[in-house]
């Protein structure tokens, strides 16, 4: 179905057709949204769906933290707790951080390269449907008498087989995750193809913004790694029909290989786009060009390639992996990661910093993600991993990467592009409240977990006895979760206020560098218009170039949004 324009006012009402089958769909109606082929709307649908799920999965996290706040508590019962950590983890990875990242790409990549549309718009929309329906299926497990899937986000057999996990939760999980993954593949292809083939004249590869490059690296990994998850899910499905498949060790360990061949690259799919967004934000609010652009582009690609060879580091304790090899490739990742950090820090070091909300989140990303990265080297070291794997140390590590890192990047992106996307400004004061509570909550929640893992608390335990001595650190973590809840309330309030107060946003509220800031806010159907044409494509920061050209003729240090110079 394609979008038809509204019928002219004088066209006759189609009374002859009682079915109404040929009535055109109004773009503003809900059906108009669900059948849209505008990349901006598909991107928005994806991000909005992911945002709703982000809140829901966060509620599950709060419930878990309330049970773990004190030793010996088990008011949900372990079966319910197991469903909660499984759906929280699966939801956050398959249905929140991955789709949001790709949705951001669907929205922004065409704008950033000066294209009027995304490649394969219908496939992109279909990808969104698959994702949304997959999420609904996975969650509908909670409505089943046996409950939702309860074997974690990686669902190792034989635990996930029909013998040990009977009921409908796991099949729903398999189908839901399968659909969402096919959806991500379709959208990933579209984004990659857009960046490679749909660039405006003059937009060379090395004039693409860092964010677009990060999407290229991410979607390359999507294409290389996601099919492996599909294969693993098929294997699980077969094993549920015939559980004797998993009587054989070869299939159990084989599943782990297939899964992690997907499972590690996906971590970078949930990281690169947010890193790219942070790069853009840092450059804009440092009032300069992104530092170390070429090195970053190369390192992103090297990173993506290397990421396909590290999967076995999730299997150090299986006794069935070549640990020294996977440890080598994992530690080698510090080289491209180090280059990227050099660029981030270098951008700030030579900047002229303006502390708006997006910048605050981007700045906090740097040290917080670094904790995730540095502890990543530790868990990539077999001699340390034997002790800390499958413990709360891992829970801490993965949340530092995904929450203290990627989610901060997500909020940096959200505060940064919200005016562009909606044409409305968010409130700066509420943004700061959100940010402050987030920083306190994140570190209070996840820092103690490193200690818990070191002391011997396994992950995925519904409760723990008092004599184990985990009480105090768990209490701290749960108090931190309270701060996070408050932070998310401040954020929700900010969104609600923005739509109520409707403070209009100009085309370029921040003095942006890349092309999307040349389009109106929100951009019209085909992005660039005669009143807002593409500027000359002179570098990866064409708008900055244009301001510099103008600045030579005008007085320096006068900025439109009244910032103190």
């Amino acid at each position: 179905m394609t979008l038809a324009p509204d019928p002219p006012a004088d066209s006759p009402p189609q009374a002859a057709q009682p079915t109404g089958a040929s009535r055109p769909v109004r773009p503003a109606s809900w059906l108009g949204w669900l059948t849209t082929t505008d990349h901006k709307r598909v991107g928005l649908l994806t991000m909005a769906t992911a945002m709703v799920l982000f809140f829901l999965m966060g509620v599950l996290a709060l419930l878990m933290r309330s049970q773990l706040a004190q030793p010996g508590q088990n008011f949900f019962g372990s079966s319910m707790y197991n469903q909660m950590f499984s759906i929280h983890g699966s939801g956050m990875i398959y249905m929140v951080m991955t789709p949001f990242a790709i949705g951001l790409g669907v929205y922004l990549v065409p704008l950033q390269i000066g294209a009027p549309a995304v490649a394969m718009p219908r496939a992109t929309l279909f990808g969104y449907w698959l994702y949304a329906l997959g999420a609904v299926l996975m969650l509908s497990g909670f409505a089943m008498p046996t409950g939702a899937h309860a074997d974690g986000w990686f669902s190792y057999p034989p635990m996930a087989s029909s013998t040990y996990s009977p009921g409908d939760g796991t099949p729903l999980w398999i189908v839901g995750v399968f659909m969402a993954t096919v959806g991500a593949l379709l959208m990933g292809w579209a984004v990659l193809w857009t960046a490679l083939r749909k660039r405006a004249r003059g937009m060379t590869m090395l004039r693409m913004p860092v964010f677009t490059w990060s999407m290229i690296a991410a979607t390359l990994m999507v294409i290389g790694a996601f099919p492996s998850l599909l294969a693993a899910l098929v294997m699980l499905a077969v094993g549920r029909a015939d559980p004797t498949v998993f009587d054989s060790n070869a299939w159990n360990i084989g599943y782990q290989h297939l899964f992690w061949f997907y499972g590690h690259p996906v971590v970078y799919v949930m990281f690169f786009p947010y890193l790219g967004a942070v790069g853009e934000v840092l450059a804009v609010f440092s009032r300069r060009r992104f530092f170390g652009y070429k090195g970053t582009v190369i390192s992103l690609l090297v990173f993506a390639a290397l990421s396909m060879s590290v999967w076995g580091h999730h299997m150090f304790a299986t006794g069935q992996a070549t640990n020294d090899y996977y440890s080598l490739t994992s530690i080698a990742l510090l080289v491209p990661a180090g280059i990227e950090y050099f660029a981030l820090v270098g951008t700030v070091l030579g900047g002229r910093l303006v502390f708006r909300t997006p910048m605050l989140f981007a700045l906090a990303f740097i040290p917080q993600f670094l904790i995730g990265g540095l502890t990543g080297i530790m868990v990539g070291t077999p001699a340390l991993d034997y002790h800390v794997t499958d413990s709360y140390f891992i829970v801490a590590h993965l949340h530092y990467v995904l929450f203290a890192g990627s989610a901060f990047g997500l909020f940096a992106a959200l505060y940064f592009w919200f005016p562009k996307v909606t044409g409305l400004m968010l409130d700066e004061r509420l943004g700061r409240v959100h940010f402050t509570l987030m920083v306190i909550g994140t570190n209070l929640t996840f820092l103690p977990m490193f200690g818990l893992g070191y002391l011997g608390m396994p992950r995925r335990v519904a409760t723990y006895p008092e004599w184990a001595g985990f009480g105090l650190l768990n209490l701290l973590a749960s108090i931190g979760a309270g701060f996070l809840a408050a932070a998310m309330i401040a954020f929700a309030l900010n969104l609600q206020q923005a739509f109520r107060r409707r403070v209009p946003a100009p085309a370029d509220p921040w003095q942006g560098n890349s092309l999307e800031w040349a389009a109106p806010s929100p951009p019209p159907r085909y992005n660039f218009t005669t009143t807002h044409p593409l500027p000359p494509l002179t570098s990866n920061a064409p708008l900055l170039d244009a301001r510099m050209r103008q600045g030579r003729h005008r007085a320096p240090h006068r900025t439109p949004n009244g910032e103190r110079a």
Partner: protein
């Protein structure tokens, strides 16, 4: 406690490196926040690349990564004295290690200490390594379980031809945890398998864990150098009572250990100790 010693050393080294990196980045950030804020009156740098600096930095990163790889791979080696051959039971030289066959099941553990000599018999094919009923399909592979019994929920069978192996198990409920008894100072080899799903044997005090797979036996060795009792846990999610799947590791003197084994050979399997 080789693993514990190596762990402590590697953790110290990597923590020091990580702290230095973290502090460097933090200092650079704090410096920028103060000296580079818009109010400080400096303009942004026009340089968007420092190729020389970037290349030497790249070289430094490569050197650091290579050093870390060599160091941590050696550490992995130190953790496994005797290497894989030793763990798999082919190691020559030193006195034969004390063997314990560990079977994980939903949701507890069974520890079988074959009588000295029995293990070799089992290996060479004379031992009763067939297992009954539920896991009959595993029988083709030679398991080390000299005791034919296996249990769920703490049930355990008795071998008919006399108690040659000492076995402990429990049901991990109401504080009834099984105890893995080992002698101090001697190398202990654990042969680890599972009856149902994947579990993982973790003794935090040893700083080591190893997964227990069905249809597969993993082996590792360790040595405890002082007497004492430490908690062990299941570290791989295995279902509803995963959180309660604990055991005690108890190290006693070699003489006491021998007494314990011969006593329990007569007694048959014993139950758990209270927490």
């Amino acid at each position: 406690m080789e693993q514990r010693r190596v762990f402590a050393q590697v953790l110290t080294v990597e923590t020091v490196i990580a702290s230095v990196v973290f502090l460097l980045v933090l200092t650079a950030l704090l410096y920028s926040l103060i000296r580079r804020r818009a109010g400080a009156g400096v303009g942004p740098s026009p340089r968007s690349e420092r190729p020389r600096l970037e290349v030497s930095y790249l070289a430094a990163l490569v050197v650091i990564a290579a050093g870390l790889v060599v160091y941590t791979a050696s550490a992995n080696d130190w953790m496994h004295p005797g290497g894989d051959a030793q763990a798999a039971g082919r190691g020559g030289g030193k006195a034969a290690p004390v063997e314990v066959d560990v079977t994980a099941f939903q949701w507890c553990w069974k520890f079988t200490h074959p009588a000295p000599g029995a293990h070799q018999a089992a290996r060479s094919g004379h031992g009763p390594d067939a297992r009954p009923a539920a896991d009959a399909h595993h029988a083709a592979e030679a398991h080390h379980a000299a005791d034919g019994g296996h249990g769920s929920g703490g049930a355990h069978g008795q071998r008919s031809d006399g108690a040659r192996a000492a076995t402990t198990t429990a049901n991990c409920r109401d504080g009834r945890l099984p105890t893995l008894v080992v002698p101090t100072g001697r190398t202990v080899r654990i042969n680890l398998t599972s009856l149902d799903v994947i579990h993982s044997l973790w003794v935090p005090a040893l700083r080591y864990k190893m997964d227990a797979f069905p249809d597969h036996t993993n082996s590792f060795t360790f040595t405890v150098d002082k007497e004492g009792r430490w908690i062990g846990r299941c570290a791989e999610f295995c279902g509803d009572r995963h959180h309660a799947m604990e055991f005690w590791l108890k190290a006693v003197s070699p003489e006491e250990y021998d007494d314990w084994v011969s006593q329990h050979q007569q007694d048959g399997p014993t139950g758990g100790a209270a927490a």
